[in-house]
């Protein structure tokens, strides 16, 4: 499943990033901590399919649908 399908307060670990992502975006996500094996927790879902709020490592990020759905995860 992808990170876009994660439910509020669920925890997961990241499997992989879509290799078709633009290299710059791929690299940045990696640097932000979205790399395989890392733990991720959903802090909030926004109404109307707005950006999802996630905790990865020591930071909180918000990602929109197009990017969250190109990150593959497994639920814990």
């Amino acid at each position: 499943m992808t990170l876009w399908e994660i439910k509020n307060k669920q925890s997961a670990s990241i499997d992989s990033l879509d290799p078709n992502l633009m290299p710059a975006v791929f690299e940045r996500l990696n640097e932000m901590g979205f790399s395989s094996g890392q733990a991720v927790q959903c802090l909030r879902r926004s109404p109307l399919k707005g950006p999802v709020v996630l905790q990865v490592g020591d930071c909180v990020y918000s990602l929109e649908q197009s990017i969250a759905s190109s990150i593959n995860i497994s639920l814990n």
Binding site: M22, A24, V25, E27, R28, L29, N30, E31, M32, G33, S35, L43, R44, S46, P47, L48, K49, G50, P51, V53, Q55, G57, D58, C59, V60, Y61, S62, L63, E64, S66, I67
Partner: protein, 604 residues
């Protein structure tokens, strides 16, 4: 003078550190070539240069690209004696990713680096200790634990910084045994070893977010904050504005007593106090607006606002990141157009830039304030919390935003056909909530006032003088038979459908240089006419003169829409890379403004 370069991730307390090191004397300089705003200040015998915060040395947006380019230039420069990298002690892993990249870059160029482990007070508050010596040994660089806020460790840091500046070669990173390990791996390892547990730090932030980003209350709180923001521009600033006005009136009376009556006296009271003075009255409003935007930004709320706005704004083809340029566009379009660089998607950045001029910038404030004072009664509701004039302000701002969203939708629809397949996505960090520190805030507020006066002052002065001469001669003080009246009557047919006479026509025309000139020009014109009246009370003069409600409202709407600012057109040209777009917007918004004003004047 040798330079010290200050770098770090955004939201890591870097600007406060900069302020603590340099004191209140700073210069904001746009360096030659592409304009990246670099603040510099004096530290001992060195120049400390504050580089814009970046997450990585690999850029994702235009602003990062430019900042990184500048950093590479500095690395090559002989004048750079040392790099100071600011780390956020509460977010060691994320700040080390950038920190290690900087360390490696400095190593390549044989430059000295020291790390400022900032916000150590917050880590200590949770009872966590970071072994700085061991961390320094692992990094192969000097590390100073300190807090720019509580000042702990700042003295030691300053001594260390001076020492490092004197012997920069001793501070070139010693990469030791991790030279082949990827940066991400090292930062993860070091953060696990030294850092504080993320859940401890993020607990408070997440609790506040539960409230401020709540699906139900979040939007309501957002709207209330925005409403109070605009309301406060009017209510909080008015005592200050009255103060400036009183000083102006007193000064005008004093000088006119000292000067012999005649032409010089008329010139000083009409052109100087009537023209230039009536625009100085609005400086407090600009300062209040800048203060509130600054508080929202430094507290961390602006990032949440961008998140809340992302989905609604995407319906109009914009990004949540468009919110911040839009908001700062209410202070001034020029920095706002620059701020649009943070929008990753080139297309959304372009549309944001093209619609920013519709945000009611502070230069419109004098015009709105004057016309509202003329047309709208000062009725108060809810025990003074709301007043009708404040509400009118809010409506004018809202009309600007509404028009901008309409134009954005139109532009998105028009450019939809050749839609870029590789749209940059929306990725946003939500920083920790912090109580804003007064030092950077005060500095920002003073700079906004200074820049406003410096930018508009000379234009207003020149226009006031020219208008005064044209309006005063040939019949010393008889406006109706002056040169200006002759010119004015020639252009009057253009403004007659809007219900405005030639004096307003002249003021509108000259305000195409810069909007706030309108008030100065009108002040000079009414000053010449009513020689004995109170010069500062321009609103009262216009009221007596009789401006109809329809024409007045049309005039306000004209100023909401029209792009009357030469500096903005120039910035648009530079940032969009197209003179056609810039002048096209100038003409387009001008015609639209005229049309709307004509409808208002005809209907009301």
């Amino acid at each position: 003078m040798k330079n010290i370069i200050l770098v770090g991730k955004p939201n890591s307390g870097k600007s406060l550190l900069f302020n603590q090191l340099t004191g209140m004397r700073q210069k904001v300089a746009n360096f030659p070539g592409v304009t990246v705003e670099l603040k510099s200040g004096q530290f001992d015998e060195y120049r400390l240069v504050d580089y814009p915060g970046t997450y990585s040395l690999k850029s994702l947006s235009k602003d990062e690209e430019l900042a990184i380019e500048k950093l590479h230039e500095a690395m090559h420069s002989e004048d750079t004696s040392l790099i100071v990298c600011n780390l956020d002690a509460t977010r060691l892993e994320r700040s080390l990713v950038f920190g290690l990249q900087v360390r490696d870059l400095a190593f390549e160029h044989n430059k000295g680096v020291i790390f400022a482990l900032n916000m150590i007070d917050e880590v200590q508050r949770f009872g966590h200790q970071i072994d700085t010596d061991k961390l320094a040994a692992d990094l192969g660089c000097a590390v100073f634990a300190m807090s720019a806020k509580t000042l702990i460790g700042l003295h030691e840091f300053k001594l260390g910084l001076l020492d490092a500046c004197k012997h920069p070669q001793d501070f070139v990173p010693n990469k030791g045994n991790d030279s082949d390990t990827p940066v991400l791996e090292i930062s993860r390892k070091l953060s696990a070893q030294y850092g504080i547990k993320a859940d401890v730090v993020l607990k408070q932030q997440n609790r506040i977010d539960d409230f401020l980003l709540n699906s139900m209350f979040g939007g309501l709180i957002f709207l209330s904050i925005m409403f109070l923001l605009f309301q406060s521009i009017f209510t909080w600033a008015s005592p200050l504005m009255d103060g400036v006005e009183t000083i102006m009136t007193e000064l005008a009376m004093l000088t006119s007593q000292f000067l012999p009556s005649g032409m010089v006296n008329d010139f000083v009271s009409d052109a100087m106090f009537g023209g230039v003075g009536s625009f100085l009255v609005f400086v407090p409003q600009i300062m209040v607006l800048t203060l509130i935007i600054g508080i929202l930004e430094d507290s961390g709320y602006l990032a949440r606002a961008a998140l809340i706005c992302h989905k609604p704004l995407s319906f109009f083809g914009l990004s949540g990141r468009s919110f911040i340029p839009y908001l700062s566009g209410h202070a001034c379009a020029i920095p706002a157009i620059m701020a649009a660089r943070t929008i990753e998607s080139p297309r959304k950045r372009m549309i944001t830039m093209m619609t920013i001029p519709l945000m009611s910038c502070s230069a419109r404030l004098p015009v709105y304030a004057l016309l509202i004072a003329v047309l709208i009664p000062d009725t108060k509701y809810l025990g003074g919390l709301l007043n009708l004039q404040g509400i009118t302000f809010f409506i004018l701002y809202f009309i600007g935003i509404f028009t901008a969203l309409l134009v954005s939708t139109l532009l998105t629809k028009l450019t939809d056909l050749n839609k870029d397949e590789t749209e940059m996505p929306f990725i946003l960090e939500l920083p920790t909530y912090r109580l804003p520190h007064w030092k950077p805030l005060i500095h920002r507020v003073l700079t906004s006032a200074k820049q406003f006066i410096r930018r508009a002052g000379p234009v207003i002065f020149m226009v006031s003088v020219v208008i005064w001469f044209l309006g005063y001669f040939p019949e010393n003080g008889n406006l109706q038979s002056s040169y200006l009246a002759a010119i004015g009557q020639w252009i009057e047919p253009v403004f007659a459908p809007l219900g405005l006479d030639w004096r307003y026509g002249v003021a509108i025309l000259v305000s195409f240089l810069a909007r706030e000139v309108f008030v100065g020009a009108l002040g000079t014109l009414f000053g010449i006419e009513g020689a004995d009246e109170n010069i500062a009370g321009l609103a009262a003069n216009i009221q007596q003169d009789g401006l109809t409600l329809g024409a007045g409202i049309g005039l306000m709407l004209f100023y909401v829409v029209a792009l009357q600012c030469v500096a903005t057109v120039a910035t648009l040209k530079g940032e969009t890379g197209s003179g056609k777009i810039a002048w096209g917007l100038f003409a387009g918004y001008g015609l639209l403004a005229y049309f709307i004003a004509w409808i208002a004047a005809s209907l009301i």
